[in-house]
Amino acid sequence: MLDSVIFYFFAGIAVISAALMITRRNAIHSAVFLITTLLATAGIFLQLRAEFLFISQIILYVGGIMVLFIFVIMLVRLDVPLPQIRSRTQKWIALLVALAVGVEAGVVLWLARKIPGQGLIFPNPAPADKLHPNTEELARSLFGSYLLPFEIASVLLLVAMVGAVVMAKKRTDA
């Protein structure tokens, strides 16, 4: 009961502010609504007992990526309203495609519940203490089965670091 109240609270905030995010004309307003969406998603992670992911979402997404976005918006003078939609047709096509995909996925999800013997898609939640010391469990998995992806992630970060600096730094010798 309490769990579903919390879920609907966060889900409502997430969806509403996501919708506001893509409709604001000013990029900073969009960024603020993206921040609220991300915070609400962090709340949903917490409701799903993924505590470490909750705090990583806050540290990395909200405190990291969004600061980067706001910096760039301020640096490239995007904080003024811009002419928005390319053409009316494109908007309608976008809505239509989104609606089609949404209806399709929704129907699949809905029907899957009705098919007997296909209970795999809707399992019951695992017992609450299954993943209990969340950080420890996650660490054991990260440094056990997923050690190689972990090292590769550091290569990815290295590439991103180099790439971003090459892109953004003024070329003095060109």
Binding site: I28, H29, F52, T135
Partner: protein
């Protein structure tokens, strides 16, 4: 419905009480930290600060806060209304919410025994730069925007440093849970400041930076940028930023205390012949009360001496509570005893930490922006990484090869200090030319270079 609410309150009343206390008391504490700072600064500069409102200006902050509360609520014409409203609320909420996981003693904690513990405090308080940059942008004015960019650049470039320093503490603790971290410092018989001194030093510097104190107060730099990112804010909105700043100061001090200074533990908790230290809270409070009585006779006005008597009485009452709780350190009353004494030692250490901040503020001159970023990126970050490696190697040496852990700690600390010397040496060779080139330009025009 009513029944379930009652059951809920019964299950969580300590936490809910604690939540209420934090919201009510922390603004008051923040305001009084500011008063202490003013008095201390006045002392350093050989002048008395506020002396009129209350004895020795003890009540000065209350009319100040009321004035801010009833000031005209001004929003500049070309500011962005929505974000101008939202930004200070974000800063303040982030700073106060992060206190939810701080343990002000073994029983005073809003979120008891959460798995991510200290990381929650660090992560949520890291959101307040967002409030600063949004507020600066919403003002739509040159000074606040430059101030906000600088301020955020400063806050975030040292957040990583603080993160690496915290890792060295977590290595020693083996958990993120706040209460477990403190308990492990009791069973290990050492505060982590002694096992990772370099890590504590780095965290101390990073925490000064994150609270915008001199010598790192570049965002405010009153001589260059008016008041930095909050120049357009006044009245209650300014008060929100102020509270966020002071609450953040308490938060970083609490994190440093919990992880490195033994949290709520009494100094030497395992040494038997030092148990008399338990009398320290009672004696200290009684001494403060006696001093108040001594000063009460010397006040110029009758109201002031009455107030002084009231303060003395409050001190004596609290001292009496401590004295009465002292014998009850066994089971049925253990909670009360541990809670009271733990809270005293924790707040004592936090105050000492904040006092060190003030001390440095009145002693050191301000850093220049280039010196400051170079200190962060060229010296502190590599040093913090070296320190993490050193602490992990020391731990591995003492567990795998049975080397005494103090010897191992000593060796790795010496190695880290040597590395720091080397980094400083390289940096000196490197920075002389850069500094000379930079002195030619003023630092505000430096910020606005296009492209």
């Amino acid at each position: 419905m009513l029944h379930s609410i009652l059951a809920f309150v019964q299950a969580w009343w300590v936490e809910l009480l604690c939540a209420l206390l934090i919201v009510l008391v922390v603004p008051l504490i923040a305001v009084y930290i500011a008063l202490v700072e003013r008095k201390f600064m006045a002392d350093v500069q050989a002048r008395p600060d506020p002396m009129r409102v209350g004895p020795h200006g003890l009540l000065q902050q209350i009319p100040d806060a009321l004035k801010l509360l009833f000031k005209e609520d001004l929003i500049p014409a070309n500011a962005d209304q929505f974000i101008f409203w939202f930004a200070p609320v974000l800063s303040m909420t982030a700073a106060l919410t992060s206190m939810g996981a701080v343990a002000f003693g073994p029983w005073f904690q809003v979120a008891r025994d959460i798995n991510i513990g200290l990381l929650f405090v660090v992560g949520v308080s890291a959101l307040s730069p967002l409030g600063i940059i949004l507020g600066g942008w919403a003002s739509n004015n040159h000074y606040p925007i430059i101030g906000a960019l600088r301020s955020t650049a400063q806050l975030i470039s040292y957040e990583t440093t603080a993160g690496f320093a915290l890792v060295s503490g977590f290595l020693l603790a083996g958990t993120l849970n706040v209460r477990a971290i403190v308990e492990i410092q009791r069973t290990d018989q050492a505060w982590f400041v002694f096992l990772a001194p370099v890590g504590f030093f780095i965290y101390l510097i990073a925490s000064i930076v994150e609270t915008n104190r001199e010598p790192f107060d570049l965002p405010e730099t009153k001589s260059e940028l008016v008041a930095g990112s909050i120049a357009e804010y006044g009245g209650f909105r300014w008060l929100l930023y102020f509270l966020a700043e002071y609450a953040n100061r308490i938060v970083v001090a609490s994190v440093g205390t919990t992880l490195f200074l033994g949290g709520w533990l009494r100094p030497f908790p395992n040494v038997r012949w030092l148990t008399w230290l338990d009398a320290a809270p009672t004696l200290l409070l009684a001494a403060v009360g006696a001093y108040c009585v001594f000063r009460a006779g010397k006040q110029p006005a009758r109201e002031q001496s009455l107030f002084m008597w009231a303060v003395a009485l409050a001190c004596f009452v609290v001292a009496a509570i401590f004295a009465l709780a002292a014998p009850f350190d066994h089971l049925p009353f253990e909670l009360m005893h541990d809670g009271l004494y733990g809270a005293f030692w924790f707040l004592f250490k936090v105050s000492a930490y904040i006092y060190v901040f003030m001390w440095l503020r009145f002693t050191l001159p301000r850093f220049r922006f280039d010196q400051f970023t170079r200190l962060g990126w060229h010296i502190l970050i590599p040093l913090a990484v070296i320190n993490v490696v050193g602490v992990s190697i020391a731990l591995a040496l003492s567990s795998e090869f049975g080397i005494n852990r103090w010897v191992a700690t000593f060796i790795t600390t010496i190695a880290a200090i040597g590395a720091a010397m080397l980094l400083l040496h390289w940096n000196d060779k490197y920075s002389a030319a850069a500094s000379a080139a930079l002195l030619a330009e003023s630092s505000v025009s430096e910020d606005t270079h296009a492209g």
